[in-house]
Amino acid sequence: MIEVFLILLPFFGGILSFIIPKFNKVIGLGTFVLTLFFVFGLGLQLLDKGSYYHFIGGWDAPLGINLYVDGLSLVMLGLTSVMGLSLSIYAKKYFICKQSLWFWTIWLFMIAGLNALFLSQDIFNFYVTLELIGLSSVALTALSDTKEALTGAMRYLLITLLGSLFYLLGVALLYHGFGSVDIVILSKKIESIPVAWAALGLMSIGLLLKSALFPFHFWLPLAHSSAPAPISAILSAVIIKASLYIQLRLWSSLFIPLGADLYFEVLFAFFGSLAVIWGSIKALVQTRLKMLIAYSTVAQVGYLFIAFSLALGGISIAWSALVYLILSHALAKSAMFLVAGNLLHFHGHDRIIDLDRIAQRLPLSTTAFALAGVSIIGLPLSGGFIGKWFLLEASITKSNWVITCTILLGGLLATGYVFKVLGFTFTKTAFSQETKNISLSMELIPLSLAIMAIALGFFATPLFSLMEIGNPFFIIRVQP
C-alpha cells in the first residue's frame, strides 16, 4: 500500500497548499518529510519481500493499472524524495512571497508525477506522468518571470510536448501491434515486426528530445540556467533522468529482444561522446556560472548515454555505472545550481570573473561547489569516481578505446570548467561590489548535497545490493 501513498501524498499536499496558502510552507515540508519516511518504509518492505506488483483497486493488467517496485525504482524514488526535501528547505528561504504562492502547489504536483513515473509499469502511464512532470517543470521554470526564463520555458514546453507526441505515437503503434500497454505483457508478446521497429524509433526520438542528448540539447541550457535555482537543480538532477529511466525500462524489457541494440549501441556511443566533448567545451567558454553548469549537464547526459551504450553492448557492469552516474550527477549538479543561486543572490550577478573572493566570504558555498565539482569530474573518492571507474572498466573490457579516451578527455575538460570557477573565487576584483546576506540554511543545503555526492563513493557495495533487488536489468547476456 505504501507505494500508492507515495503518489497520493504529494498530490493532496499540493492541493492543500493551494487551498491554504498561509501554511503552504509547513504543508510542503511536512509532505516531503512524510514522503521520505514512506520511501524508507518501502525500502524496508522491499528488502523483506523482494520486488512486487501492486494492482490498483485489485484489477490486474490489462484492465487495471499496475504499480511495480524493484531496486531501481526504489533508488530513483529515494533520490527524488531526498532531493525534494533538501530543495524544499532551500526554496523556503529562496522564494519571495508571491512566487511562493505558486511554487509549492506546482512543486508538489511535480513530485507526485515523478513518484508515479518511477512506480509505473505501463507505457501509457509513462506518457501521462511525463506530461505531468513536463508541464509542471515548465510552469516552475517560468516562475522567475524574466525574459530569459519565459523564453526558456516556452522553448522547453514546445520541446517537451513534441517529445511526448512522438512518444505517444510510438505507444499507439505498440498497442496496435501487440494489444497491450503493460510492459510485462508486451515483453512476452513483442516480436521483430515493422510496427515494433517504428515504435522503437518514435519513442526513442521523443525520449531523447526530453533527455537532451546531443544534438537535441539545444533547449536545455537556457531553460536550466534561467529557472530559479532550486528548479534548475531539480530539472538537471531528476527531470532529465526521468525520461532516461523510461528508456532504461523499455530497453531492458522490450527492445533488447528485438535485436536493435547494435544500432543503438553505436548511436548512443556516438552522440554520447559528442555530447561529452561539445558540452564540456561549451561549458568551458561560458562567462556566466549558471550557463556553465547547464552546459555541464549536457556533457553529463553524454556520459549517461555512453554508459547506456556499453550496457546495450552486453557489459552488465555498465548498468551499475549508469545508475551510479545518475545518482552522483543528481546530487552534485543540484549542489552546484544551488551554489550558483547563492552567488546570484549574494552579488546580484553570476559572471564568473567577478566572483570576488567568494572563497573567503562564502566558504561553505565554495566548499559545496568544490566537492560537487570533484564528483562531477570523477575524482576519487566520490560518487562520480565510482561511476567513472565502472564506465572505464566497461569500456576497457569492451576494448573500445575511443570511448575510453572520450571519458578521460571529458574528465579533463570538466576539471577545466570547475576550476575555472574555483580559481576566480580566490581572486579579488578591481571594483567593489554590493553584497547581500545569505541565510545559513541556503548555504548548508548545497553543502550537504555535495557531501552526499562524495559519500556515495563510500557506499557502493550496499547501494548495489539494494539496486539489484528484483534484478531490474534482467537481460544480462554473456559476452560472445
Binding site: E131, A139, K147, L150, M154, L162, V171, A172, Y175
Partner: protein
C-alpha cells in the same frame, strides 16, 4: 483494411504537417496550433488503430480512454502555453522566441 489505412495515413499526414509548421513558423501562436495539429494526428491514429478486426465490428474501448486522457493533457498544455505566450508578448513586444544564446 483500407479504411484503417486511410485513417492512418491522414493521422501521419497531420503529424508531419504539424511538425513542419512547428519548426518553420516563427509566431508562437502558430507553433501552438502546429503542436495541436500534431496531437490531433496522433489521436486520430490511435483511435483508428483500435479497430482490431477487419470488418470493423469489434472495437477496443481502451484506446478511446487513452485518447481522452491525451486530449485532457493537450488542453491543459495549450492553456499553459497560451499563458506563457501572452507573458512573453508583454515582455518582448512580440510573440516570438528570440535567440538569446547568441547574445
Amino acid at each position: 483494411m483500407s479504411t484503417l489505412f486511410v485513417y492512418a495515413i491522414v493521422g501521419i499526414g497531420l503529424f508531419s504537417i504539424g511538425l513542419y509548421a512547428l519548426i518553420m513558423q516563427k509566431h508562437l501562436l502558430r507553433k501552438l496550433l502546429a503542436i495541436n495539429i500534431m496531437g490531433s494526428g496522433v489521436f486520430l491514429l490511435f483511435v483508428s488503430l483500435s479497430m482490431r478486426s477487419v470488418t470493423g465490428v469489434l472495437t477496443d474501448p481502451v484506446p478511446s480512454a487513452m485518447v481522452i486522457t491525451g486530449i485532457v493533457v493537450a488542453i491543459s498544455a495549450t492553456a499553459l502555453a497560451l499563458g506563457l505566450m501572452i507573458k512573453i508578448a508583454r515582455k518582448s513586444a512580440k510573440a516570438e522566441l528570440c535567440n538569446l544564446d547568441q547574445e
